[in-house]
Symmetry: D3
Subunit: 229 residues, 6 copies
């Protein structure tokens, strides 16, 4: 039953390259507020920012055997995404696996469990987003799956989907939607830049977004003191 | 029903200025161990330290509309305090709102919910204490209240009260007690400084605080080994 | 009933010195995956790394009186280990106690509760691993025990046991096992170093650990696409 | 500094009696969605339902001394409300204190901490809403305050305010607003009853609340299959 | 963008009927240990057991408007599955909605958020599995989606998939796999029944499963006392 | 390295029998407030109450193989105590293992992890105290230890120690202290009974425990209103 899928379709390089520098919050908004991983996914050091296609790995709790199978499926630019079949905070990943991934050109790890050796990972500059930091090691007894769809930190991730991660967290963009979403990200970023200039100049959001009439309609009252209510 | 109170009384500037450099732990002790916000309120970067009067903002879960109403009520030196009406970790606040607040001279944000764009907020040097970091954005559909008393992270905060925040967390001082508390803070700081000199010289707390007689009275026994018990 | 044990046997200095630089994850593996404290124990700043014998202190919730008793029992090189009798996140420890411990040559604190003044502790370079950061102070009303066995963050710690702590967390090594464990730590570190060279050269864990036959035996199938399953 | 206030003004009996049978969810809605305690407050047995004026008690963590002071301030029909000054799950309250409260006619306990002896409390039919069940006992060393305003489970409660609690949780109604809120509760309950009849008859909320036009306006599309999007 | 899909394909009635009485744990094992929702999903009363096709509903945090849209899509025997787009514990569902669902023949609710009126729901015998019980109500301002694939409590659920829920939790079975899985469930149940007889007769699992040789191979040693190690 | 210790010394039957009916809270107090397991340990049904000697079992996360080894070491009257080597909520235990334990006369289970089949366990009347209820099953790949000292839910438990569990939680009494503690439990229960009579008669704890002078000494002030402070 356990499988390792070898020929996955990845989001194309030229689209990935357009996401370099994109912010997770902007991508999330641009694709209609979906695809965000749970807020407990934290980078082990800051600042950190990556974008690349997902290689997915499903593991048993406390068992990191399949990570070695997954490493072989990774190409330069990939992001390894690991999801346990039940919640676990054990340290699935440390400096040796990071050395191996780095040697293959992998740019980062998304781990819905624990990692360890974070001092060395930080020195190596290998970015990891994880649920926990925990020195507790794993066994290698149970096989799982590589490159099947997984639910990781509450989000569905298919192999080849685009992962974008920064200090705010992690978002997934469907492979087949990545191009369309990128256009909206670019538009949104430009729009935000224009707004930033106005905010810096002291304009209020109430005016920039023309909120006053709708607030009045909803019944917001301005009073001098609470006694006036 | 929703209101925005415009003429709040703030803790006076001359008193606020006496709190610059004051530590949250010292303020909390000085006012008789009260006013502390929950320990889950964390600064997005360290070190960070602020003191200023509160502008309060009550919001619906997942809805940051009222923040724009609150911004207009802020003056230079203010601290914006945001409390959702039920627990929420969504990202209510990002770099655009920070730009707007900074343009008005606001010195920091206390958010009993999530924030995002923390890489940019860190670069901007705009300090935020929050319950969570989460890229999940908000809608703008429900009106709330500005400058009413709120319970934020377990503490009652009135508009105009003094907020002091540092790497240890956040404490609120009642506007009308701020002057009296400050005198105790100063006394306590001086007292601590004197003690620090004695501790550095190797004196023991047992002697500095004359604890030995009371410990004996309470029945503490010194034994060479556990077998002696 | 409350006792302070004065003549504890410590893991010898010459053994402690062999642990300088040892990693928590490696020590944990080397002693057969035991002795790890819970993953919620975090250093207040990073990087941080210590190794030394434990002086143990059992305290009532919200009451830090016994810390002063414990300080007197500490010698240069010791690590103070504090465990409350029921879960508590109050700030048991701040800069004055740190000053006192530092004056006695204590190298760090393991606190299964909260600490405060972390900005100053960071400046002082006094490392602390704790469950929480919380400005909430303590009373001094209830006596506890010093240098008895305690359960701290889920691990049994006897006075004189060896504590090793780094960015990954905290591990305890039994005093009487510390020498034998150290031999395994050294062997393991050398072994890891050799593996790192192979991983850097691009070898796969599948080959370095000869995993392929056993994976096949367990039924792992390689397929081109999920449709092939 | 610690005080016990003896002459508090309670919400009048005739108003309290109108709240018998009122549901927490309805009261919360009726007063404009405020006053709810945190969702972690659970009844120790179900079903349970009370309404009565609050006697408030502020305690140190792990210290239940002040409960005995508070008992003396209670009258028949009162609800005792206990809030620790920092989070604590210790068992502040057991069958002896329940016996004492029951003897005075107190109708229930709201405890933002732990309780114990719940088997006996259940047999006695003394309802308790608490944050935790924990056999860990308390000391009696630190004095606190009785009948001052407290923040309990995230809600501000003044002595004499009305507490309503049922299987859904706990809500507080300001003493001075209790009469006006009750009118809205009654109206709301009648309104809900009328709606229930329509729902039982198979009418849809979409029609009962006339939601279809506004949903269309917001852009909701009905499609046969996802492929139609 | 928001859609309501009206013509979903449901797992057929004759297959659903074969799952009546099936246990969640058995179903989960039978389909290869997948499809389980997070352990925080609890029934509001016990015992409770249902099996039926899912109608899915995606909602904004604190906003239950779409539930009314979803109700109209439900048929007798359906299970309504609700997932918020970010974590929320508000009370999305109470007795009026339950009355409406019951009138349409819906057999239960799976809510990855809070519910309220649980005393009435219990009296009505309408089973609910939820993340929380919380009286906090919702607004009706933001439209979401009905009958799209959702991630609910960590599991991917498509409209029409089979939901099985009991006192242990909730599991989802893909519509297209429901028949094949049911065969394995039946086989597994029979197998367990046979084992139960042997266990009742005092046989050991060590023998029933023939574990002794493999335990020996893995190095398990039997010793009289720990001193023998 | 993994061992199963076969000849453990149990707390004698005649002492165990004296604990029948003893309450966890009373035992905990009687032995000087120690030995309590964490408050997250909950009975799967209420009321439930047991007392018996511990057979201990240390397991890997997500792996319940060793439970079968432990069953063989159990005698009538024993309590099986299971502790994972790192935190885990998987369902280690269900109705088949319960049938096996019951056939051997085991009176209950203490599981610092998850259990499943709780509907059946409840029907069987087999009491379990656990950290979680979760249908997620386990693998059988990794050997652990039986009848070694374990830390279970934060408490050290040696094989043969006495376990007492009821609706309030779980407490462990050292085998060699069980007799002495029992005497104190009996004394304490009698004492509580006497006090209950006085409380029922309306006497106050303030008088029963003669607290008034010490409260005055600590500075407690009685005031009519807060304005009097």
């Amino acid at each position: 039953m356990p499988v390792c899928v070898t020929d996955i379709e990845r989001v194309p390089d030229n689209i990935v390259s357009l996401y370099q520098g994109a912010e997770v919050a902007t991508v999330h908004e641009a694709q209609g507020r979906k695809g965000l991983l749970a807020s407990y996914m934290k980078p082990i050091y800051r600042p950190a920012k990556i974008a690349g296609p997902a290689v997915t790995c499903e593991v048993a709790p406390g068992d990191n055997w399949m990570l070695h199978v997954a490493v072989e499926q990774c190409r330069p630019g990939d992001v390894l995404v690991v999801a346990p079949t039940s919640p676990c905070e054990d340290g699935y990943f440390g400096d040796l696996l990071a050395t191996s991934l780095k040697a293959r050109g992998v740019i980062g790890l998304i781990m819905d469990a624990g990692v360890r050796d974070i001092a060395t990972l930080t020195e190596m500059g290998f970015p990891v987003w994880s649920k926990a930091v925990f020195a507790q090691g794993c066994v290698k007894e149970t096989v799982g799956n590589v490159n099947i769809p997984v639910v990781c930190a509450g989000a569905l991730i298919n192999p080849g989907d685009l992962i974008v991660a920064d200090d705010d967290g992690v978002v997934v963009v469907r492979r087949e939607e990545a191009e369309a979403v990128q256009a909206k990200v670019a538009q949104r970023s430009a729009n935000e830049e224009a707004k930033r200039v106005r905010f810096e100049a002291g304009e209020l959001g109430l005016d920039v977004y023309n909120m006053r009439p709708r607030l009045a309609e909803k019944g917001l009252r301005y009073v001098k003191t609470l006694q006036d209510v």
